[in-house]
Amino acid sequence: MRSALVSLLVLIGCGQPQPTGTDGSLGGDGMPGDDADVPTVDSPPNAACPNWCVENLAGVTSLLYGVAAVSPSEAFVVGDGGVILHRRDNAWTRMTSGTTQHLRGVWAASPTDVWAVGHAGTILRYNGTSWSAVTGVTTSDCVAVWGSGPSDVWVASSGRANHWNGSQWTYNSVTGTLLGLSGTGANDVWLATENGYLKHYTGTTWGTVMPAGGGAQTFAVLALPGVVWTGNITPGSETLRYNGTAWTPHGTSSTIFQSYFGTEANNVWAAGSAKVGHWTGTTWEITVPAGNTNNLWGVSGSGRDVYVVGSGGTILHHN
């Protein structure tokens, strides 16, 4: 069944053999169910590219916008023209998405429950075998998706925060051009917007949060327990960190981040323009990964492995 989904397969040239079997990492034949046990072991360090590996898939030059890692070695990427790419077994493959709409967001509850969203109300759900369309939610452009679990999924579309509770969809109207979604639980969900500051859902309604030192353009947002990151375009305070009490600006030498990823307060990654930022507790370390010149739009990771995607089919992998 899986082979039917694969239209293009390229082995990752700089990859290493994938741990399999007893350590809980991926392996097997790729059938649904094999992926349920999410591995926690990082990919082995790669001597060929110890910092960032370029893993662009041959033949894919589309703008890649979103990435969701479900394990150190497995990730899903979405982009222009309905492109969906899947990394596992040290290889990226192009999946059959069933759409040509630009895709702008991807989120995975598990390797067998992945959501992708895009233009013209496109909402796709992957069950470990194939992607299918979720219809009847909206006809507007969808830009981001995030959930706390399979029965608590938010999809941001033009002017709406759409919510899936496992059995039905509802929505709230939210002003501003919605750009990013993140949260820590069912009652703590954040939206980044253009023209609308941050929006925060606490269980019943969405309210506006105006970070001190920031403007109405918030680009992206990352919510972690006790910490929220967002960004704007003010020099010297391109990122803003909320510790539960106050917002603190942190400069990035003018790098505007379009996406954040992190699982703990002092290990946060961000991507924007052609650069990647890494926050380890005091400052942002800004790098240009692997000589990249393309704009970078999405970042995700698992364990020590971090994936960044961007224009021109750019896929970068750090481990």
Binding site: L63, Y65, D80, H102, R104, H119, T138, S140, D141, S157, S158, G159, R160, Y171, N172, S173, V174, T175, G176, T177, L179, E194, N195, G196, Y197, T205, W206, T208, M210, G213, G214, G215, A216, Q217, F219, N232, I233, T234, P235, G236, S254, I256, Q258, S273, A274, T293, N294, N295, W297, S311
Partner: protein, 319 residues
Amino acid sequence: MRVVSLVIAVSTVVGAVGCTDEQDELSDSSQGLVSDNRLSVNRLAVNRLAVNRLAVNRLAVNRLAVNRLSANLSSMSDLLATEEGQELLGYIVSCALPEGTVLEAKDPVTGDPLEFFGGLGLATRWLDKALDKKGKRWVSACLYARVNLHDVTVPISMRGPHRGLVTTPEELTGWTKQEGAFYGDYFRPLSEPIEWIACRGKDQAAGEAGGLSERDCAEPDPANPGKTMCGFTYAGDCGDYEPPQSARACRKFSQHGYWAACRDSTDFGASNNNGGHGSHDDDDDDGDHDHDDDNAHNHHSGCSGRATYHQVITTFTQP
């Protein structure tokens, strides 16, 4: 941040803003806030830089509603009736009204509260009276500058002869890639085509690099001569970048770092001592710094009879 709230009851037909004492007071207050905020130097996020994610087709789709909005706010309900309309309204308010001003409404379907935040303040007097010709052109230029063909959010610096677009040293040094200039009149009568014009900036003419790679609205469309990739009227190069080429669309490149006095074609002849840009005047352009009056500023050349636009926004991206 202090917020001035102007409540617009969606269920009620509302006349032109500024027709009541209350609205007059709000307008006065908002003017004061503009000065306060400007002195805080916290302007770049909303007053000098903006991000662009406005889908180009929405301008056309929503033109009827916007056209009505300029004459009578009762038709704001048209914009509020759809998510895309609400999104466009967010851009319009962001361009027209100053930071600190909030238009509040309710979604006509869900009843959810909606907030539209001011930003640049290019047509502040719209709060008090119908949008005048100059205001229409400033808002038009702002909307056009924020259109993005790729539906991605690219940070841009918007510059022009208006106090809402004044630059800081950090902005001048951080955003150096000159994309082009945008101008025209989005609010033309419905019987006439939309007047949206762009000329190509120096760095766009030199080839895409850096932040320009996802900015195409000032780039000529080879498949559609006379148009840009976004469907705007292509006026040609803003300046004569490669002498002895003499044709250019704009009369001068201001000492403040933007194109001024532009036409819809390369109507100006060879410049003198222009360093490859256009004539570089040391005067204060047309003295248009926020004189938001009804002066059309639509001069006609004695040579060609073509309109010269002074409400021009030049855009820059990061390298």
